[in-house]
């Protein structure tokens, strides 16, 4: 394997970024952003995870194949959650509101 010895300085910088993002996400949870609260929280989480994967886990320096498997994992997770939510959210859509309001 092509060994990239990554300087420890970079690790510390990534760590600092992760700490800052953690404090940021905790703080921002107390600000009312309406619909955007969960979106912001998840975006920050994705950023943190990406930093860990790329640098702590060395993926940035490795072959495409690793990316393929990471992408597969994330994509399949998206499929699972996506279809489950599709079902849950569209269940209530009534085709034509044909009210059977009175019993015959």
């Amino acid at each position: 394997m092509n060994e990239h010895v990554i300087p420890p300085r970079l690790y510390v910088a990534i760590w600092a970024a992760l700490v800052v993002l953690t404090l940021l996400t905790t703080g921002i949870a107390y600000v009312d952003l309406g619909l955007f609260n969960p979106i912001v929280a998840l975006t920050i989480a994705v950023c943190k995870a990406t930093l860990v994967v790329l640098f702590f886990m060395h993926v940035y320096y490795r072959t495409r194949l690793t990316w393929v498997f990471i992408a597969a994992g994330v994509l399949w997770l998206g499929l699972l959650i996506g279809f489950v939510l599709t079902d849950a959210l569209s269940r209530g859509w009534i085709l034509t509101p044909a009210p059977w309001t009175t019993a015959v």
Partner: protein, 318 residues
């Protein structure tokens, strides 16, 4: 002979006719392709059989057009299946307006049925011929499935939720009712019959049944008063709680800006978890009735709320 060896189920609803047409299309496609594949394999295997131990194969080109053809042509047949099937699906799960609405409560291992006029029955469903019938179904325990092969209809019956199915019977007679979703030990015993009667016979049948024939709406009204709902949900004093007159089937403005349609599911949720979807302008003061009502009582209450006519004059709420 055909009584002992039936090959086709009775066709006793409007949906069954449509379903069978699709079925014959699918059978035709299946037969054609099975014949094609079996025929080609037999023909090739015999025509090109190995006659001498040293015999070699011919060189055969692999035209791209062939690959595309046998991908696209079957797909064309399948597009027809999809469109036709989706159309039938919407037909089956989208009841037309007007008709009879019957409540069905499933439990291990029986079907409990209540007609709007009040007559109850178990493991039997009496219906008139030629009238659309909608079933509103729920389960007291596990998942069941309401299946009438002669009508070609089936839908799972879930705990904690309402599902519905409709049909329009075309043939007088008696048909199997099965539970199609495995529900425990006596699953195979959770069967019954659907009796399709002529209109006059059905009217007569509804009159029978003895004393226990309170209409669900009336039973619901009694519950409504007995549980004290009426003290807040009064049409003439809309201060504490919204009036329920005419609310069913209409959109309701919620606090928080969203809108829901007041259907069976919403009414059920509002009784069991009142704070989940509050009507705009009202406080969270209603107590929960979770655990205090049976599934049948809930259906009675819903029937009562459905029966409430909107007050005369302009609507109080949009």
């Amino acid at each position: 002979m055909w009584r002992d060896l039936p090959l086709f189920p009775p066709q006793a609803s409007t949906f069954a006719v449509r379903e069978d047409a699709l079925f014959f299309y699918l059978v035709a496609v299946t037969v054609v392709f099975v014949a094609l594949i079996f025929g080609l394999i037999l023909y090739f295997a015999i025509r090109y059989r190995r006659r001498t131990p040293e015999q070699r194969a011919r060189h055969v080109p692999e035209p791209m057009g062939l690959e595309i053809a046998w991908s696209v042509i079957p797909f064309g047949f399948m597009v027809v299946m999809f469109v036709w099937g989706a159309w039938l699906f919407f037909y089956a799960y989208n009841p037309p307006a007007g008709g009879i609405e019957i409540a069905v409560v499933a439990k291990q291992w029986m079907w409990k049925v209540q007609h709007p006029e009040g007559r109850r029955e178990i493991n039997q469903l009496h219906i008139p011929v030629g009238v659309p019938v909608k079933l509103t179904m729920t389960s007291e325990d596990v998942i069941h499935s309401f299946f009438v092969p002669a009508f070609r209809i089936k839908r799972d019956v879930l705990p904690g939720r309402y599902t519905s199915i409709w049909f329009d019977a075309t043939q007088i007679g008696s048909y199997h009712l099965f539970c199609a979703q495995y529900c425990g030990t006596q699953h195979a015993g959770m069967t019954g019959e659907v009796v399709v009667m002529s209109q006059p016979d059905y009217e007569r049948w509804l009159q029978g049944g003895g004393a226990d024939t309170t209409a669900p709406a009336a039973a619901g009204e009694a519950l409504f008063r007995g549980l004290g709902c009426a003290s807040c949900h009064a049409a003439d004093r809309p201060g504490q709680a919204p009036s329920l007159a005419g609310v069913f089937g209409r959109p309701v403005q919620l606090s928080g800006g969203k809108t829901v349609t007041a259907d069976e599911a919403y009414v059920r949720e509002s009784i069991l978890t009142p704070q989940a979807k509050l009507v705009a302008g009202y406080g969270p003061i209603m107590p929960t009735f979770k655990g205090l009502l049976t599934e049948e009582q809930l259906l009675d209450l819903i029937a009562y709320i459905k029966s409430l006519q909107p007050p005369a004059g302009p609507q109080a709420k949009p």
